[in-house]
Symmetry: C2
Subunit: 583 residues, 2 copies
């Protein structure tokens, strides 16, 4: 090794030892007769000292040439610091340098390699290898590694086997858009990159592997919203001979183990909430339950009193912001503007202030008597000093807008603490969603999800009402995983494809291998997949997954560091039997 120790390692015990360190120059202080260099590596920072009368003159001169991010190697004696630095692990010592070598000089970096950098997003992505030197980014990548290793260790301890499934698979029109790979050896044919290893993990259950997991790259060629990546990593799991509760127990166990191991937190048993309750009480299938502020429906109380907006609304629904009764006109106008933004989409907002003196003030009090307003307040259990915010309109969009307002109020009232974690399970999703555009049902989860056994009979008569035997894990308003008990019976799978509008031959061409496999002894099975990138971000209290991915792509799917994608040669195109077709 070119070093005897790392820059995070030396302590008082090492005093008197002669050591060799390698690392990057973080900082140089030159006081003429004394020079200090902070030497950095992944493990920490060690202070180097060069002193006139002690250090060779030439070496002092050399040390003064050190620029930020130069890579150097030094040898010297570990000595006690005059004033120790509590902020550094190595703060009790410094190294009195007797040899200095520049291993590689560095140009001035285009942005500060510091916790708070002056580099903009684009610059940091172009020089991602420099951005990765910054503490917060490096720590995010280290955190991801810890989470991955602990996940593997936990699941291995539960008899799960990690099996790698293929990356070059087959394109299927169901679901999101596939990335495809032209096959040179099979001209005119294409592989697809997996959106998930779904069918393969089910086949592994048919094979009897019983408990499978994989940390696996998946791919979706979607228009990228901020914070979505074309390639992402799943913790993909499947188990045989299980019912829903078994899967919930197992993976609640995993996530609680991760909380304990990574954050030192004991998390209590996860509540289980139905999709219907989540939508009714929070207007979202991924409610943030760090705070209460449940929805209260007001149709019965407010309709038929002459206020046209409420009378014509499918739904009148509100939330109570405790202690916000003193909001000013300006604050209330801001909230109204907030809900009117196109992303939220409400037409307006009605408020009800519960004044300290027991009276009420509302934006619509000309339509309602004080007694009626009292009834509203009672519906929310509103006390003096509370504020009630009400939206009205079409069911789904109103619930959705109120959900956004609720989260916004949660932020304003600091009810969404980064160090508080409230996981829960959402269950009993609808199996199918009606798609107006294609005039057919889509699988809400995917076509392999089993219907709830109690609803099996409605699959032909009333498919839209059938509940899925599916579940999502939600933490702090973020869906971090989802899964289902799968269909393991050929007939039911055929029925499902039919409900989704597949012809028999389409179903056969795309998933014939799976349906055939079901005929050779497929066990009952179910599973789950977690978004690893998202899980890391949620555990770290971060909104963005970007820093948990070493080399992310931008929203055009471009890696600006290596400048990819890029044109390929005519010879490559020719060998692959394709040509580009630019409009």
């Amino acid at each position: 090794m070119l070093r005897t120790n790392t820059c995070g390692e030396l302590r008082k015990e090492h005093l008197g030892e002669v050591v060799t360190l390698c690392g990057w120059v973080q900082r140089l202080r030159d006081k003429g007769g004394m020079v200090w260099i902070d030497l950095r590596d992944r493990y920490g920072i060690t202070q180097l000292v060069f002193e006139e009368g002690v250090t060779d003159k030439k070496i002092i001169e050399e040390s003064k040439k050190a620029g930020r991010e130069d890579v150097i190697s030094i040898t010297g004696e570990v000595v006690k610091r005059v004033a120790s630095n509590d902020k550094l692990q190595t703060g009790e010592i410094e190294v009195r340098v007797s040899e200095l070598q520049y291993l590689n000089r560095a140009k001035l970096p285009p942005f500060l390699i510091d916790d708070e950098t002056d580099g903009g997003e684009e610059l940091r992505m172009k020089y991602r290898y420099l951005d990765l030197r910054r503490n917060p980014v490096r720590k995010s990548i280290e955190f991801r590694n810890k989470l991955m290793q602990q996940t593997r260790s936990y699941l291995s301890g539960q008899d799960f086997i990690e099996v790698e499934t293929p990356v070059l698979i087959k394109s299927t029109p169901e679901g999101a858009r596939d990335f495809v790979v032209p096959s040179r050896m099979n001209p005119g044919e294409f592989y697809a990159l997996p959106q998930s290893p779904q069918t393969f993990k089910q086949l592994l259950m048919v094979s009897g592997f019983d408990r499978y997991f994989q940390l696996v790259k998946c791919f979706r060629d979607e228009d990228l919203r901020a914070d979505r990546q074309p390639e992402f990593t799943q913790i993909d799991c499947e188990m045989s001979f299980v019912e829903r509760q078994d899967v919930l127990d197992m993976f609640e166990g995993l996530v609680r183990n991760l909380f304990k191991g990574l954050l030192g937190l004991e998390i209590e048993k996860f509540p289980v909430m139905s999709y219907d309750d989540a939508m009714k009480n929070y207007g979202s299938d991924k409610p943030d339950v760090r705070f209460d502020m449940k929805f209260t429906e007001l149709n019965d109380l407010v309709q038929g009193k002459g206020f046209n907006v409420f009378d014509q609304a499918e739904l009148v629904v509100g939330i109570k912001a405790t202690g916000c009764g003193d909001y000013t006109r300006k604050q209330l106008d801001e909230l109204t503007d907030f809900v009117r933004r196109p992303q939220v989409g409400a037409k307006g907002m009605v408020y009800l202030k519960c004044n300290a003196d027991g009276t009420f003030k509302s934006s619509v009090d000309k339509f309602y008597s004080p007694a009626q307003l009292q009834d509203w307040a009672n519906a929310f259990d509103g006390q003096a000093g509370d504020l009630i915010l009400i939206l009205a309109g079409e069911h789904a969009s109103t619930r959705n807008a109120l959900n956004v307002l609720r989260l916004h109020m949660g932020d304003q009232l600091d009810l969404r603490k980064k160090d508080v974690f409230k996981p829960l399970w959402i269950v009993d999703f609808p199996l199918l969603e009606w798609d107006e555009e294609s005039q057919r049902y889509h699988a809400m989860h995917h076509p392999f999800t089993s219907p709830n056994p109690d609803d099996m009979e409605m699959l032909n008569s009333d498919p839209g009402s059938v509940r899925a035997n599916a579940y999502d894990m939600v933490i702090n308003g973020v869906e971090i995983g989802g899964g289902s008990i799968r269909i393991h019976d050929r007939k039911l799978q055929e029925q499902m494809f039919k409900a989704l509008g597949f012809s028999e031959s389409e179903a056969e061409a795309q998933f014939g291998f799976l349906m055939e496999a079901f005929q050779f002894g497929a066990p009952p099975h179910g599973g789950i997949a977690f978004g690893l990138d998202r899980l890391c971000a949620v555990f770290s209290g971060q909104e963005s997954i970007r820093d948990f991915i070493a080399f992310p792509k931008n929203t055009s799917g471009r890696d600006v560091m290596i400048n990819s994608p890029s044109p390929i040669s005519a010879q490559q195109l020719n060998e692959l039997s394709i040509q580009t077709n630019l409009k």
Copy 2:
């Protein structure tokens, strides 16, 4: 859970317990009044018993309908077996069934689910999920999982961080052919799938990650020879501030740890052999050193004596097969035929038998005196009863042919034991190979490999003689890993690209990002990558990697189970701005 126990779990301690098991029907024996079923899952086999007078009649009738591979659930009491079966972990008990449920019926499988199956290769690949039920295949996949987890655990213990590098990267013409992925959002442009994460792991070193590893899928669009897969998995590693010996020590440590943990074997320190010595003594850069049988060169002894074939040969070289002096004419003819096969490519073979009576018999004894033949024998330290086999011709092809013959003799003499492991390092490879076709040098390893520091000056004057600072790990004649100390200096990297015939603008376009990164403080670094599939096979004494891959492709790159690759829709092609171009 649909079961209380697995089929591999029940022992004498469980006698009297009422248990529920799920699994596959391995075997049914119906003796009229008594029925036995062997119930199988991943964990083992448990014998079920149905007995007239004890078991409900209906259940006995039901049990008789059980077909091979049906999935059933049973409940019953654990009872002692009359005659225990030592071959089964559960052989002391059986379960007296009181409830029986068919969870899924199975069609008759197209081949026997047994250690020795009657299914041909093609059928087993089409029904891979059934092939995976067979013990040897399941165990191979389980072995791979163990090897993966132990590798991660060892490297994590050595401060290595697992970092995922991107799968959608950029195509570069250097090396093998890339698989490419058309970008929908960037029409006319393509991603490539990585042949290895080489440049990314080097960038991670520039980032200061210090020790990186990843178990990672890699892709090469090569014409597939038997036992090569278009996608394969590497154990990919890189370290900073290291010299060659540090890398060898670290990864010898890993592999010895795997031998110990997976096979219970203590392996002694790996010998280090130069490429030149390997080629000279074994005619191969991946010698199988489980047996000696080194090459002996005979040019001085045999040339100029009137035997034209030897006189005109660049190289006359042989091996000694100890104790094979009694080979018959037929055996010797078979060996001659063997070396003449086009895959071996020798023109003929000369033998020398050291007879028991001290005389010699050779195929060319009319050209050589008994004394001369004695000199030959002496060169090999040949004793009475030994056989010497000699090839002659052009240097490289003759060494190669003799290597093949040596391995063949090793097999014949049973010197290549499956349970003996002889790893070694091969070092000092040539940096560059001259390619006649393109009339330029190619990198023997890859263009990022550092020259041996001692040979640096020859890089311009005599590039063909420069040794690389590279190393391969070889076990039992199989290269299982290779790596190098990398270039970390922009100037040297430029010089290297120049030696490889890159123009400045080509080098910049393809690897500009890496060369720029070298200017921002790149540490000295080096690494290695192991072929995981191959490593599993070698550890298991298997020739083929196929069974260590859950869902392999055939030699046309086709997955015959899912029937991939396949045509995609006109809409997909259109969205991707490509069209097929079939000749």
